[in-house]
Amino acid sequence: MVPDFRLRIQSMLRAMQEVVIPAIPAGERLALDQASIVVGNLKLMAEQQDKLYRYELVELREYAALVTELIDAAGGGASTEAARESLRNSAGVVTMPIPTQPELTGLTKAMKHAADTLLRAAYEDGSPEFRRAAAQLVMKQSASQITRERSWFRAAGFELEPESLPPLDELLA
């Protein structure tokens, strides 16, 4: 695809930094503020643009594993059992053909919802063992998700020690 995202973003950055921002009068602080954020977003997109699909695949794989583990651990009252039964099919997603990007996004979203539904059921009427297990499984999964998200957004400048985060390529391997 020509021009690819990288090139288009690069040209947008040049236009913003070399043409648009210098043309904004110094007193126009709202316009200058928003133009700076546009530049920040474009830099972030330049870093992320070729990794998005892999990112979503990793997230899907991880949530499929979480749902599988939650189903295995589930036990308790009617809500928990009903949630477990309805989610059994979700685990099959790992054997599906490679989806398109929108399908992949939708599947990941559905998987997140599935895990959340079972967690809520655990707190409603799950057995004490399941409730504990569900909490621990969510804590465990969230560790890798958050590390990946922090690395994904590193270029935005919110991290105090961005260099301490693992490289995105390593996390998406």
């Binding site: 621990q136 919110f158 105090l160």
Partner: protein, 397 residues
């Protein structure tokens, strides 16, 4: 073009079910219900200055005794939540004295990163002027019946929020050694004043004050934010559910009910660049009556900490954590309970993550604010807030 999902067109039944599930303060309920009822309405469009002038003129004609003149209306930069215009007002007051002042019109956009009730902000600002520099508040249009959107009008204060620098927004102000030395002692003094201020003689009719010794106010606050999560979230995040459950089950009683600003930090006060004198504490929109530990925990979040020239981490860019706590206790005369601080570490970052992870993308989807691009930038802070939530929960779940 707005992006549509089910939550962009909420049914009346769903809105009512959220109200029942998450009972909270009257004015909070009013605000959130209004937001949801208007959600399927039009996107935000920039307000032409002439339209602002016309509405202001009608509004002020009802409130000023004689002739007046509005001039120099201009949009203000900064802030993500409210649309603000500065203007010059020349008028004669009730005694016939000529007045000439720059004022700020602060209006809620169609939806905001923090959906709040202007009367709460108005009352808290008015009360807190007794103990710290806060812009004088003049008028309030709580439901937007006259100004088009809920709004308040306050005095304009001179000053800057941070030393000049380039680059996109971050919540770290980069005060550096010079301004740190000038600002930190003032800042912590006002922080302590906020906690010890006796609000009982003030007009707090827009608030439902919690009982000291009870956790009812904490539960109401959890309901507030969990309701926002349900209204705004664009996808599930199990850690957020886990945090909400933990907060509900471990809510501690409030030992001393204070005004809690909820965003008391660098970037939300103005100072004079030549002397470093703080001229105004801003952004009172999230204020409620609650536990001072909430303000401390939010201020201590990793989003605002900076390192000094020797690599020492400074809370909010001012002091190391233990020094800040010690000085805060001395100035306020109130203890800092480590267990409550740990509880509010979870609460504050969970609340911050709701704003970043749920409300920010939600209002961008509906094109509901004048600051979509800036609000979108805030989403990038969500992982750091979530990391802090998880860290604070570790060992407690």
């Amino acid at each position: 073009m707005p992006i549509i999902d089910d939550k962009q067109n909420p049914s009346a039944e769903w809105i009512e079910s959220l109200r029942r599930r998450f009972p909270t303060e009257r004015t909070v309920d009013e605000t959130l219900t209004g937001k949801m009822r208007a959600r399927s309405g039009p996107s935000h469009r920039p307000q032409p200055v002439e339209g602002v002038r016309e509405r202001l003129t009608v509004f002020l004609r009802k409130r000023l005794p004689g002739e007046f003149r509005i001039s120099g209306i201009r949009p203000l930069a900064g802030g993500s939540s409210k649309e603000q215009f500065a203007f010059r007002l020349e008028w004669r007051d009730a005694e016939g004295t000529a007045r000439d002042e720059t004022l700020v019109l602060r209006m809620r956009p169609a939806e905001s990163i923090v959906e709040t009730h202007p009367l709460r902000e108005f009352q808290a600002m008015h009360a807190m002027r007794a103990v710290m520099p806060v812009p004088a508040v003049h008028w309030c249009d709580p439901d937007g019946a006259e100004l088009g959107q809920p709004a308040l009008i306050a005095s304009f204060c001179e000053g800057i929020t941070r030393p000049p620098r380039e680059g996109a927004y971050t919540p770290r102000q980069g005060f550096g050694p010079k301004y740190r030395a000038l600002l930190a002692p003032q800042f912590i003094r006002y922080f302590a004043e906020l906690a010890k201020f006796d609000w009982r003689a003030s007009d707090v009719s827009a608030f439902d004050p919690p009982q000291a010794g009870s956790n009812e106010g904490v539960i109401r606050a959890i309901n507030w934010w969990e309701r926002v999560w349900e209204e705004d979230s664009v996808e599930s995040y199990p850690l957020m559910t886990l945090a909400a459950r933990w907060l509900r089950e471990n809510a501690p009683p409030i030992d001393h009910v204070s005004f809690v600003h909820r965003d008391f930090r660098g970037g939300n006060f103005l100072f004079l660049p030549d002397t470093g004198r703080i001229t105004a504490i801003l952004d009172w929109e999230l204020v409620h009556l609650g536990d001072r530990h909430e303000d401390l925990a939010f201020f201590f979040s990793p989003l605002f900490s900076e390192k000094d020239e020797n690599g020492v981490e400074l809370m909010g860019g001012f002091y190391p954590r233990e020094i800040f706590i010690r000085e805060y206790e001395r100035l306020s005369g109130l203890p800092v309970d480590p267990a409550k601080l740990a509880y509010y570490d979870v609460f504050s970052c969970w609340r911050g993550a709701i704003n970043a992870l749920a409300t920010a993308p939600r209002i961008m989807m509906g094109e509901k604010t004048h600051q979509d691009i800036r609000v979108g930038w805030i989403i990038n802070s969500a992982p750091l807030m979530l990391s802090a939530v998880r860290k604070a929960l570790q060992g407690r779940i």
